[in-house]
Symmetry: C2
């Protein structure tokens, strides 16, 4: 299964495409950062972000999109731009007809490190190992997007299985 992970942001939006399946190491297909200029009008920035995301979708044809969830603990001023970017990413996935999942940073850290409060160095070391890379993913900003993609491959699939099992009554 091929997943596009997105670490949403207006100035820098991380995107990572990973191919893999639950419990096995994944393969990095592509990684990058979509940048928009803070001095440009907001509508133009959203348009450029959308174009950049659609380019990744068209070139790499993922089967699902996973976006880091924006959460309310953040600084309120910065949360608005991050929320707008996450909305654009989710819409791009939905318009491509793909399932779209969201994960909090701690869910993502727990998925790759087994510890929801792992620090950035631990997370980068783990994603480098999981994807069998010789060096940490570059640009560093995009590492989080790869982590979100792996989270979906590992956790999302597990959740789907649990949901299916529950629906089938296997838990009763």
């Amino acid at each position: 299964m091929r997943v596009m992970g997105v670490d949403p942001g207006l100035t820098r939006c991380g995107v990572g495409i990973v191919e893999g399946s639950p419990g096995v190491k994944g393969t990095m297909v592509a990684v990058g950062v979509i940048r928009t200029d803070p001095n440009t009008e907001l509508a133009t920035r959203l348009f450029e972000l959308d174009a950049g995301l659609r380019d990744f979708l068209e070139r790499h044809q993922p089967e699902a999109v996973a976006v880091e969830r924006v959460f309310s603990q953040h600084n309120v001023a910065s949360v608005i731009g991050t929320a707008q970017a996450s909305g654009i990413a989710m819409l791009a996935g939905a318009k491509a007809g793909l399932p779209v999942a969201t994960y909090t940073p701690s869910e993502a850290k727990a998925a790759v490190c087994g510890n929801g409060s792992a620090d950035k160095r631990q997370v980068t070391a783990m994603i480098t190992r999981i994807l069998g890379l010789t060096d940490p993913p570059k640009p560093a900003d995009a590492a989080d997007a790869l982590v979100i993609a792996i989270t979906h491959l590992w956790r999302g699939s597990l959740q789907n299985k649990l949901r299916l099992a529950t629906q089938k009554g296997a838990w009763r």
Copy 2:
């Protein structure tokens, strides 16, 4: 000039189309609320909101889009959904090739009432009079979208003129 005003929201997004020009009363072309179900997945809600906004754009062919600016004084939990909806509205305008402006609620109140802290009743009474309606606009939720459209017609055009005049050196 025809303007689409948007009062962004995920559960209820007000949309109002107004035709007019600076300083003269406007005409209401259309008004409505795009609703999405809070129990539906977020990506699906954003998709439905985008489809609803595009439907207004295609049916009424405005020449500009004006969106109420999401601001940080709001409750942080609700601001995320409002910010996502505003991002979708700005993107829809930009993708239609239209200029997109944003106004704060107090800029909008000042534009229609001459007082940035006017209350909801005053604003509704003024927009009803400005648009020459016999009754307040319905649904009530959408009145704010009409106010944002009028704000753009009156204030945005004035700002454009000031900018042009300044560029031409008329103020030196």
